[in-house]
């Protein structure tokens, strides 16, 4: 491989201030995080940032040349919408490098109050076509779009030619099957919403029930999302990763997707060639050691690719969900 590339930005997750420092130290160009409330799509107990922690974390990152992007990417819900607008105020006051938004109300607020504030369009906005992305660019001056994980590399390349903003693409981590920002499955089962409360399959509604035959059911609210035989490893009951029965097929099957993780390390050169200028690692809910391993490995890989070397990413396979990994939609349309 002799070809060299413009080096893409490596965008890494931080669920805690400690994870943020770890990501910065491991070579993240930018770290994204959220406040400890409903204003972002990873509103999990014990996770995320107080305003004070955010201020200190931004200082830590900026001192080391890294950016901090604040995700305000759930949907501001009346009559509580002020909570989301307050988050935008905070990002502007603390000089976050960008705010990641999905909601038209939040974007509209940000652009009218802080014309200089850089906006990224969250994957939660589900903008999957050039027309959709251009709409957000024209209306709100979006600088970068985070693409949904449903496009092939050639499709990303085609979109890149038709839009006036940068592209950020997910390259590693958990892969949800539903279009982001358009899934009410959790609310259907638990009464808390992914869009309105930033919650997906909340741990408070999860129960594991052992049956007399040795199998273990993983339930969310009133529903059995999966049931594991005695010799099977149990998983977390995320609705879109469960096994269900359909008429004519009484053996439960993964109706949506198997529990696999996205790993696009082998496609990095293709992605950069297709116009992706920022590579995003999923996992704000993950531990510091996970963040350290993945960010370090991707730091080396991006540097290798930029220098025309073949990256070695064998260590990453161990970090994927259940050890199973996929290139998802990126490699082939057959995924659909």
């Amino acid at each position: 491989m002799n070809e060299t590339f413009a080096k893409p930005e490596l965008v890494c997750p931080a669920g805690t201030p400690a994870a943020l420092r770890t990501a910065v130290d491991a070579g993240a160009d930018a770290v994204y995080c959220g406040l400890a409330n409903e204003t972002n799509a990873r509103n999990f107990a014990g996770l995320n940032f107080t305003p004070q922690a955010l201020e200190q974390s931004i200082a830590y990152a900026h001192d080391r040349g890294a950016k901090v992007l604040l995700a305000v990417n759930s949907f501001a819900t009346s009559p509580r919408a002020q909570l989301w607008f307050d988050a935008v105020d905070l990002a502007a006051r603390l000089r976050a490098d960008a705010v990641i938004v999905a909601d038209i109300g939040v974007a509209s607020y940000a652009v009218s109050r802080y014309p200089g504030l850089r906006l990224h369009l969250s994957v939660q906005a589900g903008a999957s076509s050039p027309e959709a992305i251009r709409y957000y660019c024209e209306e709100f001056g979006i600088s970068r779009v985070v693409l949904p994980r449903i496009l092939t590399v050639p499709e990303i390349d085609a979109i890149h030619r038709e839009i006036p903003c940068e592209i950020e693409a997910f390259v590693f981590g958990n892969i949800g099957m539903m279009a982001e920002g358009r899934c009410s499955l959790t609310n259907y089962v638990t009464g808390v919403s992914t869009n309105m409360n930033g919650v997906c399959s909340p741990a408070s509604d999860v129960r594991y029930v052992e049956h007399s035959d040795g199998s273990t059911a993983a339930t969310l609210g009133d529903f059995e999302i999966d049931c594991y035989a005695a010799e099977e490893k149990t998983g977390y009951p995320t609705i879109c990763k469960g096994r269900y029965m359909r008429p004519g097929r009484e053996e439960p099957y993964y109706a949506f997707e198997e529990p696999v993780s996205l790993n696009l390390s082998a496609l990095l050169p293709d992605l950069v060639r297709a116009g992706v200028s920022a590579l995003k690692i999923e996992g704000r809910q993950r531990s510091r050691s996970y963040v350290h391993s993945v960010v370090s490995a991707y730091r080396r890989a991006v540097d290798d690719v930029a220098a025309g070397r073949t990256p070695d990413l064998s260590t990453l396979a161990m970090l994927t969900e259940g050890g199973k990994q996929t290139q998802g939609a990126y490699a082939t349309k057959k995924w659909r």
Partner: protein, 306 residues
């Protein structure tokens, strides 16, 4: 206060062209609905089957005194999706309901509607869209009563209509992958239209046999049917102007007559519920989202929302 409107939402499922045509003809001739939403929301591969029937169906609906609104697709990805949306938008004089942001930039400056698949959760979003010409909003199905009332006040201030689905399975999620095709070991590109066998969706049950969800191509729906018979009074009071029925294979003419009577306060909610049972509508039904409870739940007595 103007008389509350009753509307017939788009057919979400892949019914045969004849079934769809006959359905809309009957709606045109017999259903007491004010508005009919025409067009494919879920899968652009289905559109060629019915495109040639659309003009006669629209004509018949208009002759029957219905307003015709054309819907755009909920998820726009492929070239065919994009062409389907553009083809709809260039229809001269047509009122469009946008269900995805890709339709919006081309509708700017022209009166249009915002559909239930587009996320409008707050008044600022509503105001922004209204500035570009949005004049009617059908709100996301998961919103609780407390949000409806704030948004209804904003819609009223903007002179916009506000619509809420009150009957039928509820769309819970969209995906790029076709789960109908997947269930039969196929992919979206070689699906052979296996979704045509499930006029109300393909039911999914849990391991323990509990009915759970329903699949319609790339869409995941509730297994239960929504029924806001008990909530209609409150919705009218807070200023909701239109009430949507989502079509199913049951007798939708009878269903529409029933809800018209309910809106006109000629039957009670209890009578409505009993008659839905007689009509063979799947039980139990759901109303949880309105009450800020798990969506699938049936909240029996009136309980106030969030």
């Amino acid at each position: 206060m103007a008389k509350p409107q009753l509307t017939m939402g788009p057919v979400l499922f892949h019914w045969s062209a004849e079934q769809k045509r006959d359905f809309w003809f009957r709606v045109a001739d017999e259903a007491p609905v004010d508005v009919a939403y025409l067009g494919e929301v879920i899968c652009s591969k289905r559109t060629p089957f019915f495109d040639s029937h659309l003009p006669e169906v629209a004509e018949r609906l208009i002759a029957g005194g219905k307003k015709v609104v054309w819907v755009t697709m909920a998820e726009v990805l492929s070239k065919l999706d994009r062409n389907t949306v553009s083809g709809m938008i260039v229809l001269e004089g047509a009122e469009i309901e946008a269900n995805d942001s890709s339709a919006l930039s081309r509708l700017s400056g022209r009166p249009h509607r915002i559909g239930q698949y587009f996320n409008v959760y707050n008044e600022l979003a509503m105001e922004h869209l209204a500035r570009n010409g949005a004049c009617h909003f059908t709100l996301p199905v998961e919103l609780p009563a407390g949000s409806f009332s704030t948004l209804a006040a904003t819609a009223h201030k903007l002179g916009a209509g506000m619509e809420v689905q009150i009957f039928g399975r509820v769309g819970l999620a969209l995906s790029a992958r076709c789960y109908h095709a997947r269930a039969h070991g196929r992919t979206k590109d070689n699906c052979l239209f296996v979704c045509e066998n499930d006029p109300d969706g393909m039911d999914l049950k849990t391991h323990s046999g509990a009915p759970f969800l329903s699949i319609n191509g790339i869409q995941t729906l509730s297994h239960r049917f929504l029924n806001l018979s008990r909530e209609v009074g409150e919705l009218k009071e807070i200023g909701v102007t239109a009430f949507r029925l989502s079509p199913h294979s049951c007798d939708m003419i009878a269903v529409s007559r029933l809800y018209r009577e309910l809106l006109d306060e000629r039957v009670t909610a209890d009578e409505t519920d009993n008659r839905l049972v007689e009509l063979g509508v799947r039980q139990p039904m759901m109303n949880g989202f309105f009450h800020a409870k798990p969506g699938f739940e049936r909240v029996a007595a009136h309980a106030s929302g969030e």
